[in-house]
């Protein structure tokens, strides 16, 4: 139906755009990281500063993801199965992190947990620092990555329907058994997808954590903040090495996501 030249013309425009906006920039991370050879890269990867930054990123992620997953599944069950009152109201807040600028998120956390904040003062008097310290960074990571499991599980729960659960109930299963043996397995791909998105978001967070941590070198730098601070200090190779590590993780995430999507089609599960 469409003339050949038009088809290839459109493809060329699309690919050129993607090349310029996406492919070359991401590819450049590899190029720039290795521009001065392998040594600066290995030096960075083994440096205390970098390892500490990766460690902080990992800690924040490993706390945020399980908590948000448990919350996400619980909240989705409450909204879809129990149809709790006020579910639309609370769902708005569960979605809000997607509409908020990361610096705004960071600010709101400082206002609550900072020394002069609503609760922060009390903690400070008891010797606990939240802002400019790990707890604050964890809170920021949780905040920004909160919506993903909820958003993936809700439609799956709706699509799967209540029949399997009702069948199990009539057969004598307790509510707990029904949840662990019937409901959870039926939503597992939605949960998996949500967990991957949550992890990616947590690993890549910059703005909110930057506000909340004070970006203190060697103390409260996550991997993303490390990238920025190294660049600002003209350590280009270090910055790009860290950027490369993060970009590789991002690619792995995208591959994992696409594998899951294809696996769902094969299994014929609903999404």
């Amino acid at each position: 139906m469409r003339a050949k030249p038009v088809k290839w013309g459109l493809i060329a425009v699309a690919l050129a755009y993607l090349l310029a906006i996406l492919v070359i920039p991401v590819g450049a991370v590899v190029w720039r990281a290795f521009q001065a050879g392998l040594d600066p890269v290995t030096e960075t990867l083994t440096s205390d500063l970098f390892l500490h930054a990766m460690w902080l990123t990992l800690v924040c992620t490993l706390i945020a993801v399980p908590l948000n997953t448990i919350f996400g599944v619980m909240f989705a069950m409450l909204v879809v199965r129990r149809r709790m009152r006020g579910r639309n109201f609370f769902s708005l807040f569960a979605d809000l992190p997607l509409a908020l600028s990361p610096v705004v998120i960071g600010l709101s956390l400082v206002l609550v947990w900072g020394i002069h904040g609503w609760f922060g003062g009390w903690f400070f008097e008891h010797g606990i620092r939240i802002i400019f310290s790990l707890p604050g960074m964890v809170l920021a990571t949780i905040f920004v990555s909160l919506p993903f499991v909820v958003r993936e599980v809700v439609p799956v729960l709706r699509a799967v329907g209540t029949e399997q659960e009702e069948a199990a109930e009539v057969l004598g299963a307790s509510p707990s058994r029904i949840f662990w043996r019937i409901t959870l397995p039926s939503i597992k791909w939605g949960v998996a997808y949500g967990v991957i998105l949550t992890t990616a978001r947590a690993l890549g967070e910059y703005g909110a954590v930057a506000v909340v941590s004070g970006r203190m070198t060697g103390q409260t730098e996550t991997a993303t903040i490390f990238v920025d601070s190294q660049w600002t200090q003209f350590n280009e190779e270090a910055a790009f090495t860290a950027a490369l590590v993060l970009a590789v993780i991002a690619v792995i995430v995208v591959v994992a996501v696409n594998l899951i999507v294809r696996k769902e089609d094969i299994d014929g599960h609903h999404r």
Binding site: F90, I142, L246
Partner: protein
């Protein structure tokens, strides 16, 4: 099926978690921005640098949303309607901006399109540079919203129109476009809302020159560092309201468009 006792515990936990993590900080934000009164709020917003930043942010984000509407639709079209070698990989790449840390995106854009560009292209510290960064970050929104609509599109309706004598552009305008318009609207709305708040991708390449290339997110960051949390809160609330309003507007437009598409 209603269960009483055990429901209460999970309800309490979930709502408590949400309250602690999201709702209370939002309340604190509203309080900080509004408690000093309308005059103070207005003064903070109309600070010359802040106002300029807001105007710049909205203008660039609007342009980015429009470019996304066009290019996103084109890319979705190419991915759904045509076959070419590597299509699967290209399709997977679209998700990359969702997973890529924003600071990494900003850094690499500065490296290859900035002062030391190997291509001789220098858009570092310019508004164009900001736009390019935002285009990278918002790439998937329109594409992913339009793709499923294109896949569901009624090819037979298009063929019927062609058999009745309609040319390809006419078919696109009258048959295809109404079907994908809801996706274009919702994707553009999301892109806009995301763009106005973007920080990591923008902060390096923009250069952050007041009145020239300072975006609101950077402005807020600066106000926080200058220990002016109330002013920062005022600007934040403004951005938040604009973001929510645009999402609501685009949601309304999308739903109306979906109804008209039948």
């Amino acid at each position: 099926m209603r269960r009483r006792g055990q429901g209460a515990l999970s309800l309490g936990l979930a709502v408590g978690y949400l309250g602690l993590i999201v709702m209370i900080p939002m309340a604190a934000l509203a309080w900080a921005g509004l408690s000093q009164g309308a005059a103070s709020f207005w003064a903070a917003i109309t600070e010359p640098e802040t106002l300029a930043a807001l105007q710049l942010t909205l203008a660039i984000s609007a342009i980015v949303a429009i470019v996304n509407a066009v290019m996103g639709t084109l890319i979705a079209w190419v991915l759904v309607r045509y076959r070419f070698p590597g299509r699967g990989i290209v399709d997977g790449l679209i998700d990359l901006p969702f997973a890529l840390p924003t600071i990494v995106a900003g850094l690499t854009l500065l490296a290859i399109y900035g002062p030391n560009s190997p291509f001789g292209v220098n858009i570092g510290f310019t508004r164009v540079g900001i736009a390019v960064a935002l285009l990278l970050v918002t790439l998937p929104f329109v594409v992913r919203a339009v793709q499923p609509l294109l896949r569901e599109a009624d090819l037979e309706a298009e063929q019927a129109a062609a058999s009745l004598g309609a040319g390809p552009l006419y078919v696109f305008r009258r048959i295809i476009f109404p079907g994908i318009r809801p996706g274009i609207l919702s994707g553009s709305g999301l892109a806009f809302a995301r763009a106005i708040g973007e920080f990591g991708a923008v902060v390096l390449i923009a250069g952050n020159l007041p009145f020239q290339t300072k975006m609101s997110s950077v402005d807020i960051f600066g106000l926080i560092e200058q220990d002016k949390p109330d002013a920062a809160a005022a600007v934040s609330l403004t951005l938040l309201v604009i973001s929510l309003a645009s999402l609501a507007l685009f949601d309304f437009l999308e739903r109306r468009s979906a109804r008209e598409a039948g």
